[in-house]
Every structure is written in structure tokens, then in C-alpha cells.
């Protein structure tokens, strides 16, 4: 004899699930009902039904089915797990590497790690959050970049590591959105194009999105690499945003001349 559990919001719901899974009529089942959660007014929110099955044929059919079910059930997870030697999850490695780096930076911090099959999400709590985030979050992005590089270096399993320090990213986003709104107002009031300070691509994106639905201004970026700046353009001035030169997106690479490679490489001088 075997017991199977089914849950539902009502007894009927749980029994229907049981009937479907066991391929038995409810009237043929031998079951007991357990109320799992009930609200203040005595209304039952969750019901568990425990069905006892002793029919050999039913049991055999179920066993065969579960064997068949096993493979298609976890199509994503399985190859991933097989590639990890000794089933080591990346989260542990992330924790070790990050812990060591933070320690050598002279900081004590608590870390919470959540791992899915695609990501490792780390939240750091520290007495000195500024040392870990830096002005404009530059230190935080650098830490995230380096930790990603280190943990995804040799393994076949690649997971994106996302770091945050006590909700910094969310606060930073809110702050940029507010800044964007103020800049847009100033731009409209003065009827002049407003140029933002240096921002990384993610931060520029936040501002583009924040002003996307603002009918009074449009946004665009100009310049290359570290010189790239976001412009907030009042409606009246649209179409002459870029001041001539260098208006489009990134310029194309320098063309090769007669098949000769241009651009001398000098990797050491960053």
C-alpha cells in the first residue's frame, strides 16, 4: 500500500487532482482529509488529501509513468548539473571569492546568496557600503565584473553573478530617474539642450527610459566610449541635437587601407 498527498484550496479541488493523477474515480479512493491552513473565520484555505492506494494495477501504472516522466521534467537542469564536478554550485564559489576580496579591502560584510539555474544573486550588507559601491556605483560594477570573470573562468556552467549592496541599485535607479526629470524640466524651461555628465551604458538606459514618455523632450547619446554623453533635447530643438559633427551612434572602425591592418595594438597601456 502507498500513500499519495494532494493539496487544493478545497477538498473537492484536492480530490479532483488525486483522481486525475491516480486515474481513479473519487468514489473508489480511500482517503483522509487534512486541513492545512484556516483563516480567522474558520474558512479553510488549504486542504490536503491523503489517498491510500492498495490496488496493485494502479500502483504499477503509476510507477511506470513516473519513470517516463523523470526525463522531460527537468530538461534544463540536468545537463547543467552533470557538468558541475561533484555537483558544486556556483554560489559557494561566488561566496568564497567575494568574501576574500571584501576582506582584503578591509571591510566586514554579510552576504545573502540566491542561486537559480541562470543567476547567482548576492546582496551585501556592510557598515561601510560606500567603499563597496563607490561614487556612481563604479566600485560595485567593477566588483561584479571581476567576480563574474573569476567564477565563470573555467567552468562549463556559466551563470551571471549579480551583486548589490543593501538595495543600492534600486536607490541609484530612483535617483537617476529623479535627476532625469529635473534635467528635462530645466531643458524645457531654458529651451536648451542639456548634456548629462559621464554615465555608463546602464545608467544612460535608465534615463532614456525615464524620459521615453515625456512629450516635451527627446533623448539621445553622442560621442564614443568614455566620451559618450546623453543629451536631453527640448521639443522645439529636435532635429538639430548633435551640433554637426559626431552626431550618429558610434563611428565605424577605421577602414583598412588596401588590406593593411590599421590600429597598432598596445595592450599594456590602459
Amino acid at each position: 500500500m502507498k500513500e499519495y498527498d494532494f493539496e487544493g484550496r478545497t477538498r473537492e479541488e484536492a480530490l479532483l487532482k488525486a483522481s486525475e493523477f491516480l486515474k481513479m474515480n473519487i468514489s473508489d479512493m480511500n482517503y483522509k482529509v487534512i486541513e492545512l491552513e484556516s483563516s480567522m473565520f474558520g474558512l479553510v484555505k488549504k486542504v490536503k488529501v491523503v489517498v491510500q492506494v492498495d490496488d496493485e494495477h494502479v500502483l504499477q501504472a503509476l510507477e511506470e509513468e513516473s519513470r517516463e516522466d523523470e526525463q522531460p521534467e527537468t530538461p534544463v537542469m540536468e545537463p547543467v548539473e552533470n557538468n558541475v564536478p561533484g555537483d558544486v554550485l556556483l554560489g559557494e564559489r561566488v561566496n568564497d571569492v567575494l568574501g576574500r576580496i571584501i576582506e582584503l579591502m578591509g571591510i566586514s560584510a554579510v552576504r545573502t546568496i540566491e542561486e537559480t539555474d541562470q543567476e547567482v544573486v548576492v546582496d551585501i550588507k556592510s557598515q561601510e557600503p560606500d567603499v563597496l559601491t563607490g561614487k556612481d556605483g563604479r566600485v560595485l560594477s567593477s566588483l561584479q565584473f571581476i567576480v563574474n570573470r573569476i567564477v565563470n573562468r573555467r567552468s562549463d556552467v556559466r551563470k551571471h553573478v549579480l551583486l548589490d549592496v543593501d538595495g543600492f541599485k534600486e536607490r541609484r535607479e530612483a535617483q537617476l530617474q529623479e535627476e532625469a526629470r529635473q534635467m528635462a524640466m530645466k531643458a524645457v524651461e531654458s529651451n536648451r539642450i542639456f548634456k548629462m555628465g559621464p554615465l555608463n551604458a546602464k545608467d544612460r538606459r535608465i534615463i532614456h527610459l525615464a524620459l521615453k514618455d515625456n512629450a516635451d523632450v527627446s533623448t539621445k547619446s553622442e560621442g564614443n566610449g568614455a566620451q559618450r554623453r546623453l543629451l536631453i533635447i527640448p521639443r522645439g530643438l529636435q532635429g538639430r541635437g548633435g551640433r554637426g559633427k559626431n552626431r550618429g551612434r558610434k563611428r565605424e572602425r577605421p577602414r583598412r587601407q588596401n588590406g593593411q591592418a590599421t590600429e597598432p595594438k598596445n595592450p599594456a597601456s590602459e
Binding site: 576580496i101 582584503l104 578591509g106 566600485v139 566588483l143 571581476i146
Partner: protein, 81 residues
């Protein structure tokens, strides 16, 4: 907890390269500024510099933040072995 600039660079570099045994870090200390000299095997140079110097820039940013906490300035020099 104390800030260990040399060890910080050494740990990051060793974790990034294929030949950690060939990573050498020296610290030259001036009054307020530390120069951290990082030497790696030739074939690992790309690993510590990265595409368009992105890895080197990230190491420098982390190093500077740690140095600032210690009330210092730090400069990272990457040298070929």
C-alpha cells in the same frame, strides 16, 4: 580589519590567470602613494587587462576604493614578465 592592497591585487590576479604561480606582486610605498607592480606570465597578460582594458580598469577601481578607505592612494602598474 586592515586593508591589504598588495594581497588584494595578488588574489584577484591569481584568480584570473591560467598560471597563478607566475603572478608576482610588489608594492613600492611612497609617503601617501603606493605603487603596486603586477607581473604575470606573457600569455596571461590579456586575462588581467581584458578587452579594451576593462579588467585592468575594474581592478584599479577596486584597488583605489580600498586605498581611499585606508587614507592612501594606490597606482596599479601591469608589467610583462
Amino acid at each position: 580589519m586592515s586593508v591589504e592592497l598588495k594581497e588584494l591585487v595578488e588574489y584577484i590576479a591569481k584568480s584570473l590567470v591560467d598560471n597563478p604561480d607566475e603572478v608576482n606582486v610588489a608594492e613600492v610605498q611612497a609617503v601617501q602613494t603606493s605603487v603596486i607592480e603586477l607581473r604575470v606570465a606573457k600569455e596571461d597578460l590579456g586575462k588581467v587587462i581584458g578587452k579594451q582594458g576593462r579588467t585592468a580598469r575594474a581592478i584599479r577601481t577596486i584597488l583605489s576604493s580600498a586605498a581611499t578607505k585606508a587614507g592612501k592612494r594606490a597606482v596599479l602598474e601591469i608589467l610583462e614578465d
